[in-house]
Structures are given as C-alpha cells and as structure tokens.
Amino acid sequence: MALNPMEQFTIKPLIAEPLFALAGHPIFFTNQALLMIIVVVASSLFLTLAVKPGRLVPTRGQSMAEMSYEFVANMIHTATGEDGLKFFPFVFTLFIFVLCSNFFGMIPGSFTVTSQIAVTLALACMVMLIVIVTGVAKHGWRFIMLFIPKAPIYILPLLFLIEVISFCSRPISLSVRLFANMLAGHTMLAVFGGFVVALGSAGGALSLLSVAPMMLIVGILLLELLVAFLQAYVFAILTCIYINEALHLHDHH
C-alpha cells in the first residue's frame, strides 16, 4: 500500500509507449483510462443486461437500474419541466458516469476518475456548452437576457459583468466541488489506512491500537459512500437547473 496519500491520484501509463499522438500530444493508455473503460463497460452491461422489459417483478439488479432511471427522470422533470426530458440521455449518462466513477474509486487499489480536475472540468464545460447551445438555439440573441436582470439602466453594465462572472464561475464551481470532494475523501481514507497499516505492523500493544483508526475508517467509508452519491446527484441536479435557465431564461422567477 502507498504511504503517500497522494500516490493514489497519480496517473501512470500502463503501456510505456504512447499509443499515438493527437495534435502533437502523446496519448497513453493509463490506469485512469483503464478505470474509465471499466466504469463505462460495467455500467453499460449492468443497465442493459439487468433489465428485462417483460419482467414485472424486478430482480434486485433490475430495480436498482430502474431506480436510477426514475431518479434522474424525476430530477429533470421537477427542475426543468416537460421540455427538459429530451436532455434525459445526457443527464443520465452524466449521473451514471460520475456515480460509478466515484464508487469504483472507493475500491482499494483502484483509481478515482473524478479525482482529476481535467475530467471534472471537461464534464462541467460540456454541460455549459450544452447550456449555451440550447439557449442560443431556442432564444437566439435573446439568450443574452440571461445576463441582464431587471434593474435601473445605470447599473446594468455592472450587473451584466457580475452575471457574466457568475455564469463563467459555474463550470469552475461544478468541477471543483466534485474534484475536491473526491480528492479529500480518498486522501482521508488513505491517511487513516496508512495509520492502520503502520500501527498494525508495529506489533505488540500498538497493533491493538490500530482498532481505533480501523473503526474510524469504517465511518469515513460510509460517509464517503454518501458523498460519492451526493456529488453525483449535485452534479446532475445543477446540470438540470442550468439547462432549465437556458430553456426558460428568467420567466420562471
């Protein structure tokens, strides 16, 4: 086991040579790539094979798949209304990807895909891109009204700037939140895991002491499970809220 808690976030090529170069950048097959493939293949297989449409009494796997589906569908429906449902495949993919990445990262020795700012920022930028494209496609130039609140004309430029900053901060807050949560949680787990290993290997009375951090680890593990789910939920619900704004501008409030 790694004694350095940051070790688990290191991206290592599993094949020493780069596969190819993309626009001058070498592309490696890394531990993170392996985990991403495992995550999407496992979740694809699970969500496809666990479900049989004709099965009225679901198995445990099927009811889990259906629960996740309905969870996301309800989330979109309450946040955006009927016309947001066409974004269901995207939000569902986002939710499943983040959720499974978070969960798979908790397996000892594996890698947390969502503990990389590049991944979370890319996902967040994808969300914002979809928001902008949706807004412009639906409202044309009136999409700019999203940045112009109702206010006296002389402070509008200032408010416009503030709204733009606020809008641009969204991908940052969205990605940093997920990234920081995963990073902090897994670092904590690694640190306490290190304690357990160190105390356990010290021998004698000290190895008895390792029971305390062990119990703490169980607690943190449970908390991390909750956080893993919660962060996937927050990522998805905020995506819905942003899509709702793009669809309906400010006329909801």
Binding site: A2, L3, N4, P5, M6, E7, F9, T10, I11, K12, P13, A16, L22, A23, H25, P26, I27, F28, T30, Q32, A33, M36, I37, V39, V40, S43, S44, L47, T48, V51, K52, P53, G54, R55, L56, P58, Q62, A65, E66, Y69, E70, F88, P89, F90, F92, T93, I96, F97, S115, Q116, I117, A118, V119, A122, L123, F179, L183, T187
Partner: protein, 178 residues
C-alpha cells in the same frame, strides 16, 4: 509522465501543497485524460441513449400498466362484490317481508276458522237448547192436561159418589177451572 511514480514514492508530499508534485495538476496528463474521457463518455452515452434507456423505460412502463390494470381489475371486482352484497341484502329483506306476510295471513285464516267453528258450535247449542225447551214445554202441557182430566174424573167420581148425580165433563171442568 513515466517518471511520476519515482518522484512521489521518495518524497513525502504533505497533502498536495506543492503544485508541481500534485498529480491532478500535471498538465502533461491532460491530453490522455481528455481523450479517454471523450471515448468512454461517448460510449456510455450511446449505450444509455440507444439500448439501456429504452429498455428500462419499457420495463417501467410495462410494470406501471400491469399495476394499473390490476388495480382497475381489483376495483371492478370490489364493485361487483358490493353489488352482490347489496343484492343479497335486498333478497334477505324481501324474504323476511314475505315470511312476515305469510305468518300474518296464516294467523288471520286460523282466527277466521276458529271464529266460525265457535259460531257453529254456539248455533248448534242454542238449537239443541231450543228443542229441549220446546220438549219440556210440550211435556208440561200434556202433564197439565193429564192433571186436569184426572182432576175432572176424580171430581165427577166424587160428586157421583156423594150425590149420585151424574155430572157432565164440561161442568166438571168449568167447576175445577175456578
């Protein structure tokens, strides 16, 4: 990128305060990360959009329809049961009414018969009494007549003995009549 593990294993980095040694901020890994993210996310999106999503949706819709159907069926069965119960109750009430009516009718016919029998018996009795009274009266008349004749004959015989006169029956009767 290849030399990353060597640096992190030897140095104890205190929770990522050194940006240079902080793995998530190593920009040289970004192209690989983004490439694999695009591939895997695109794959997952396609699978969920085309295969898993419609399948799960079909399963949920099927179940909802089945449950709604079962509920509707149960509601129908309940309505039928209620109707059957209502029918049973009206039948019961009718039967009870008919029973009561029958009992009443029986009672009335019985009463009538009893009254008739009583009246017949009364009539017979009074007829018999009248006949008896008539007989008694007749007997009394004849007895009276016998007494009168005997008294006349006796009177005639007495008078004849005493006086030697023959008294006619009419005279004797007239004399006795006083």
């Amino acid at each position: 990128m290849a030399e990353a593990p060597a640096t992190t294993e030897t140095t104890e980095v205190p929770a990522g305060h050194e940006a240079a040694g902080f793995p998530p901020f190593k920009t040289e890994t970004f192209p690989s990360q983004l490439f694999w993210l695009a591939i895997t996310f695109g794959f997952l999106f396609t699978v969920l959009w085309r295969a898993a999503g419609p399948k799960i949706n079909a399963a949920i819709t099927n179940r909802r329809n089945a449950i709604n159907g079962a509920i509707a069926e149960a509601a129908k069965a309940r309505a039928e049961a209620e109707a059957a119960q209502a029918g049973y109750e009206t039948a019961l009430a009718q039967a009870r009414k008919r029973g009561n009516a029958l009992a009443e009718e029986t009672r009335q016919t019985l009463n009538a018969e009893i009254a008739k029998a009583k009246a017949d018996a009364d009539a017979q009795a009074s007829a018999a009494m009248a006949a008896a009274e008539a007989r008694i009266a007749g007997t009394r008349e004849t007895a009276k007549a016998h007494v009168k004749t005997a008294a006349r004959d006796a009177a005639i015989a007495i008078v004849e003995r005493l006086t030697g006169d023959k008294v006619s029956a009419e005279d004797a009767t007239a004399a006795l009549g006083n």
